[in-house]
């Protein structure tokens, strides 16, 4: 049995309505960018669907905002299917998002490699195929903290997802065909890696209590995006030491070409303030350069989170000219905006 929950200190009405209430507010805050289709439980581009364009759809458990709903808009996603907190959306939602995004050119599903999300997207894709919609799925699995042994569920999809959504979204916006959009998304998946560090737990609204308790002076290495414990619990260390460890984890696995241009994203987990993220980024930037890669594009902020957890994750994508140009293309979503 759970201990009696202390009252959660959150901006909340009925905890069971948290996802819906939050999406109502998201739509109220960004009416020119997105719409909330409450009947289907999905978020769609305000000016979509765009005739002839390949639809780009993603989705996943809520609680990781701005992922995915905050990335709906010109240059990125056409629709997103948010599940309950830390639970995959159901096939009905994903199917509705797929139909909302489809204008005949087909739809790309961007799926994080979590068992629930993979299975629900698979079921939705089977239903969409029955309806005659061409669907390609790209599964993102960039988390180097998980040992990728045969017979296991494999690695989670983490911050790489944000980059896949931006880059595939730009390719689709440029009018590329479904197979080309899927191909560039898979190129990103192949060249992106992430590693996360948790400094606290977080409290899902319905559970009403923190998922785990960290003793004073200890932190979690190799966390995901559902507030769960990571691969290892270790003593707290300085930002400098953590940065060295994070860069080592990511680059050892990615093995980029010497001198490679990279995109470095540092995403907070939701409860870590901008000042700490930038402090850590300074150390990461130095470590990356010392390791022989050059962060030519950078993104520091909250992009893929776990509610109000403290912590951050480093994502590194090895770039080439095409990826840089797609990254730089205009985007206008509630959480990522430039060039328009």
């Amino acid at each position: 049995m759970l201990p009696t929950a202390t009252p959660m200190r959150k901006f909340l009405n009925d905890p069971g309505d948290a996802v819906r209430d939050s999406l109502v507010g998201l739509a109220a805050a960004h009416p020119g960018v997105l719409r909330y289709d409450a009947a289907n439980g999905i978020v769609v581009r305000a000016d979509g669907p765009v005739p002839g364009k390949v639809g780009v759809v993603s989705g996943g458990g809520s609680g990781c905002e701005p992922l995915h709903t905050g990335f709906v808009g010109p240059g990125m996603l056409d629709a997103a299917a948010p599940g309950q907190v830390f639970s995959s959306p159901v096939p009905d939602q994903i199917l509705a998002a797929t139909h909302a995004a489809d204008t005949g050119a087909g739809v790309l599903h961007i799926v994080k490699n979590f068992t629930g999300e993979v299975m629900n997207f698979e079921m939705a894709a089977e239903l969409a195929a029955d309806d005659g919609v061409a669907v390609e799925a790209v599964v993102v699995n960039d988390d180097v903290a998980v040992l990728d042994r045969p017979g296991t569920a494999g690695r989670r999809g983490l911050g790489g997802t944000v980059l896949v959504e931006k880059i595939a979204g730009a390719a689709a916006e440029r009018g590329q065909a479904l197979d080309a959009v899927a191909a560039v998304a898979r190129r990103v998946v192949a060249r992106v890696r992430s590693f996360g560090v948790g400094l606290s737990s977080c409290t899902p609204p319905v559970a009403g209590r923190p998922i785990f308790t960290l003793p004073d002076g200890e932190i979690e290495l190799g966390i995901g995006i559902s507030g769960e414990p990571g691969r290892q619990r270790v003593p707290l260390r300085s930002a400098r030491e953590l940065a060295a460890l994070m860069v080592d984890e990511v680059l050892t696995d990615l093995a980029p070409a010497p001198g490679a241009p990279v995109l470095a994203m540092l995403s907070g987990m939701g409860g870590t303030p901008s000042s700490e993220l930038h402090l850590l980024y300074g150390e990461l930037d130095r470590c990356l350069r010392e390791a022989g890669v050059e962060p030519v594009r950078r993104l520091v902020g909250n992009f893929i989170t776990s509610l109000e957890q403290s912590g951050a994750a480093l994502t590194v994508l090895e770039l080439d000219d095409e990826l840089i140009s797609l990254w730089d293309a205009p985007v206008h979503t509630s959480a990522l905006r430039w060039g328009m």
Binding site: M1, L2, G61, G83, Q84, V85, F86, S87, S88, P89, V90, P91, D92, F114, T115, G116, M119, N120, E122, M123, D143, A145, V146, L147, R149, G151, T152, A153, R156, P204, V206, A207, I211, F212, G222, G224, S226, G227, E228, P229, G230, R231, Q232
Partner: protein
């Protein structure tokens, strides 16, 4: 009551499962908070409450339709890993039950076996991966084994319950290879798998509601 499983018997089973899930919701969530994301109880409770309401609103449904309704409702309301998996379990049971009306004990066991197969295909999981399969597979084995040896349904279901619980308990010693717990690697050892606990409730609910002995127990 006899060993014939008609629509009212199935309804009793499903309601009892919903009741046990609701009763154990916090416990399931607590298990999931150890090695998952603290939502298995609320996921299953949301889904089974919806499923119970769905079958109540369709009083005429025959066994196959009933199981299909439960499967579809779970797929549509649960999300996460459990939604497609339990949804598939019931959808495959429905397919196995077909339109033939009431099931006998062997038919019920065959349907449950089909459901288990569906779960294993959908989840790409084997016995020993530390998932709900670790409770369901031994339960199906025990049920089929006892029935084949001539036992009555109530006896067979009691054996299935024991097997499910043993399978559930054994998950604690294992390293998870599927689902969220697999991300923890060795750290998943020492914690019971939440899905194996909810699956054990499903078998317990069957033992409490189906077969002759259920009359006295339920």
């Amino acid at each position: 009551m006899t060993d014939t499983i008609d629509s009212p018997a199935l309804r009793a089973w499903l309601h009892e499962f919903a009741r046990r899930v609701a009763e154990n919701s916090d416990h399931l969530t607590a298990l999931d908070s150890e090695i998952g994301d603290a939502d298995h109880g609320s996921n299953m409770d949301r889904g089974m409450a919806a499923a119970a309401a769905a079958i109540d609103s369709d009083p005429g449904a025959e066994p196959g339709q009933l199981l299909k309704l439960v499967g579809r409702t779970l797929v549509s309301t649960v999300g996460g890993a459990a939604g497609p998996l339990y949804g598939t379990l019931f959808l495959r049971m429905a397919a196995a039950a077909g339109d033939a009306g009431p099931l006998d004990a062997a038919g019920f066991a065959k349907a449950l076996h089909a459901g288990l197969d569906g779960v294993m295909v959908r989840g790409r999981a084997e016995v020993g991966d530390k998932t709900m399969v670790d409770a369901l597979a031994p339960a199906v084995d025990a049920l089929e084994g006892e029935l084949a040896a001539g036992a009555a349904l109530d006896v067979a279901l009691a054996a299935a319950t024991t097997a499910a619980a043993a399978g559930r308990d054994a998950t604690a010693d294992r390293v998870a290879r599927k689902g969220r717990a697999s991300y923890l690697g060795e750290r998943s050892i020492g914690h019971q798998d939440p899905g194996s606990a909810s699956a054990t409730l499903l078998v317990e609910a069957a033992a409490a509601t189906l077969g002759t002995a259920a009359d006295g127990q339920a």
